[in-house]
């Protein structure tokens, strides 16, 4: 069975400080990892995926297969980063996209 764990339900960070949202996964095959974000009063949307290796809105995430982690990082937090962040796990051939419980990030001005 595939599982995604986000250990922090709430995270508060001062503006300008570094941000790290943790995500660990459990899956025996080759995973596809995603970060989705939900800003206030907006629909859930893709932030980034590991296969693209992009930096979106200053965020990056590296897949560490040894530690089975896909932590989301940003060096300098901005107020507009306040949102709900979900880590998600999918894989080719399995049609179920599994989400973690989410982390609500609050940036303190």
């Amino acid at each position: 069975a595939q599982r995604v764990t986000q250990p922090e339900k709430l995270l508060s960070v001062f503006k300008g400080a570094p941000v790290e949202l943790k995500c660990n996964y459990s899956y025996s095959g080759s995973p596809e990892l995603f970060w989705y974000v939900q800003y206030s009063r907006q629909r859930l949307q893709l932030l980034l995926r590991h296969i693209s290796r992009e930096s979106i809105k200053g965020f990056t995430a590296d897949l560490n297969k040894g530690e089975t982690s896909f932590h989301l990082k940003k060096p300098f937090a901005q107020e507009e980063d306040s949102a709900m962040y979900y880590c998600a796990l999918g894989n080719f051939g399995n049609e179920k996209l599994t989400f973690g419980t989410g982390t609500r990030l609050t940036i303190i001005p």
Partner: protein
Amino acid sequence: NAGVTQTPKFRILKIGQSMTLQCAQDMNHNYMYWYRQDPGMGLKLIYYSVGAGITDKGEVPNGYNVSRSTTEDFPLRLELAAPSQTSVYFCASSERGANTEAFFGQGTRLTVV
């Protein structure tokens, strides 16, 4: 391009009533999903579909039914509403399944009293 559209946005149901949550997408995606979002519990998969005429259960299917008669539509049916079904429901679609980007609707907030 509307993407994924859900109706209604809000609904209050009495215990035992039934209703259908509508979901439509205009991106010609084969894969569609229904999730429920409970506080502190994240998103739980209710049902999903890999194409017209094909549906399958997710993690929490009890109390719900779905159908997929067309590529565009994926309605979710609640037959006998219970307070435990109070939640925010999200419909999503993707082009090629769980390893590709999922596009979400704006959600339906359902309260069962």
